[in-house]
Amino acid sequence: MSLLSVRDLSVKFAMRDNTVTALNQISFDLAKGERLGIVGESGAGKSITGFALMNLLSRPGFVDSGKILFQGDDIAQMSDAQMRRIRGNQMAMIFQDPMVTLNPVLTIGQQMVETLMAHRKLSKSEAEQIAIVKLREVYIPSPAERLNQYPHELSGGMRQRIIIAIALLLDPQLIIADEPTTALDVTIQADIMELLLELCETNKVGLILITHDLGVVSQMTERTLVMYAGRIIEAGRTREIINDPQHPYTQGLINALPQQTAPGQRLKQIPGNMPSLTAIPNGCPFSPRCEYVQDHCRTEAPKTVQYTHVEVACHEVHRLHSDKAEEMNR
């Protein structure tokens, strides 16, 4: 059984006079200990996906339909009390800004001990011992002293490591990390990614890594979802997606990177912008920006079809595959 199984999940926002669709029937699975990347440009729906999985959507957002099965139970149907037991305990989330999680007026120790004692029957000193062990795991120097420090006394990189230590406190099965290193310098980003990878591998923790950085996804994950305008437009093994992208948007994202063009030459840009939720085009949402667009792309949404290595939602990809299949039959 999958650790996590998302089926036809749709999330909407109730606006003043209508509702808009932020996630449109997305489906994916995550096996125990698997690392999955979610990529796409800003506004694609990556963070909304993370919030929905944690049952943290706040109004006006709501799950309109679909299932989020975590170890077989539907998160979307859970009461707040049930969800609180799972959140932190079995699923934990790491945000781009560590101060979303850290309370500025409590010491690191107070926050860690509080979290532990809320979920486990422990004495204060037992909880402190566990906190020190977790801080050591994320390579925080002199962990015992750090317990008495306040968040503002620590550097950004150190704060993000403490967030990881807090996420690991209750030995979760799944960590959802939303742009965890985007605000950090490259050298510190590399340290934190290496740490996260090591911890997930040794403890068999599942990871959903949300990022717009294809390099990070390539180094960290086994499988990748590419999102556009609230849909998964391509999904599969990370290697395949990076080396042989099928969907025109995925190709565009990779080709636009400076390292794909000789120094000084014009970069291959994708024209236009990600649509806003109130103006998602009919048919294929990428059609106004796509160089392969055909008439039916503008009226008919492409289905998601599973091929050997990846699943893709694009008419042109489907046509190429059926042409190939026909040729084989001849």
């Binding site: 490259v186 050298t187 590399a190 390539s218 994202l253 400076p258 912008n273």
Partner: protein, 340 residues
């Protein structure tokens, strides 16, 4: 052949910011005695560099290493604590605001947040016309409008959108408009501080292409600040690597990426997540970045360097010219103990 005269020549530039402003803040208890003590941030320390006409110098380094401060010093938005800045052969760091005016036109600045360079209460047409009118008082209204329309088309913004306000555009469009605004006065030198860092990949490509075009077609010279090394490799002709306010390596872009020498440059290059390589050879740095308030007496990188020795603790390394033209400030490189 002699090297062309640099357009920009920075000599021993220093900038210190006072941390404690009021008299009471400067009083400190030391060994039971009350003493007056001023703390300073050493943001820029003894930086020297040149930019030749047509060159694109990229400045890289960690957050807080002094990149923006260098940019603001050159643009005349800050006054150096010491050192000199020469532009087109003339010293500019000691000029009054008035005397800087003719230079304002030649030298334009673009910021990470395009809101910083666009007034939210002005339409795009007004924002673009203003600098043209200011710097060309003799142009007629029709000539001004033509010039603005030309520039808008050149950056891929429809001139019929002129009546809209900045918030009605996307981030990438706003940044293109900010660049358009800088280009309307035909500058020769552009200082860009993280101009594409806040943008998505596909939009980054649009903006970077625009800057490349301006470089080729107008022969523009750039000082380009970024933390994205793939952008440096693509856009820069030269790179300055900054650490804690000092230049640790200054070299041609190709040379720097092929043969990085300074231990910090090597760590930085190794930390970039690669698209196609599964097993990065990431050099893990130990220790924390020191604050620029209490600068170490020796090499600024000493606390995190795997090659540091006692000389590094006490003596500051000076930039030394390498056989391939790179300038590197590192004792280990000078002593040849890094590698063969």
């Amino acid at each position: 052949m002699t090297a062309p005269q640099p357009l920009l020549d920075i000599r021993n530039l220093e900038k210190r910011f006072e941390l404690d402003r009021g008299f009471l803040e400067t009083l400190k208890l030391r060994g039971g005695k009350l003493v007056q003590e001023k703390r300073e941030v050493h943001a820029v320390n003894d930086i020297s560099l040149q930019v030749a006409p047509g060159e694109a110098l990229c400045v890289v380094g960690e957050s807080g290493c002094g990149k923006s401060t260098v940019a603001r010093l050159i643009a005349g938005l800050l006054t150096p604590s010491s050192g000199e800045i020469h532009y087109g052969g003339e010293r500019i760091d000691n000029r009054s605001r008035r005397a800087m005016m003719p230079l304002r036109k030649k030298m334009q600045m673009i910021f990470q947040n395009p809101y910083a360079s666009l007034n939210p209460r002005m339409t795009i047409q007004q924002a673009l016309e203003e600098p043209v009118r200011y710097h060309n008082p003799n142009l007629s209204q029709g000539e001004i409008r033509d010039k603005v329309a030309d520039v808008m088309r050149a950056v891929g913004v429809d001139p019929s959108w002129g009546g809209r306000y900045p918030h009605e555009f996307s981030g990438g469009q706003r940044q293109r408009i900010a660049i358009a605004r800088a280009l309307t006065v035909d500058p020769e030198f552009i200082i860009a501080d993280e101009p594409i860092s806040a943008l998505d990949v596909s939009i980054q490509a649009q903006v970077l292409n625009l800057m490349l075009e301006a470089k080729e077609e107008r022969g523009l010279t750039y000082l380009f600040i970024t933390h994205d090394l793939s952008v440096v490799q693509h856009f820069g002709t030269k790179v300055a690597v900054l650490y804690l306010g000092s230049v640790c390596e200054l070299s041609d872009t190709a040379t720097l990426f092929e043969n990085p020498k300074h231990p910090y440059t090597r760590a930085l290059l190794s930390a970039v997540p690669q698209l196609k390589d599964d097993h990065p050879n990431h050099i893990r740095l130990r220790g924390e970045i020191p604050t620029p308030i209490n600068l170490p007496p020796g090499c600024p990188f000493e606390s995190r360097c795997a090659h540091a020795n006692s000389r590094c603790q006490s003596e500051q390394p000076r930039p030394q010219l390498q056989p391939d033209g790179a300038l590197v400030a590192c004792h280990a490189v000078e002593e040849g103990r890094l590698d063969g």
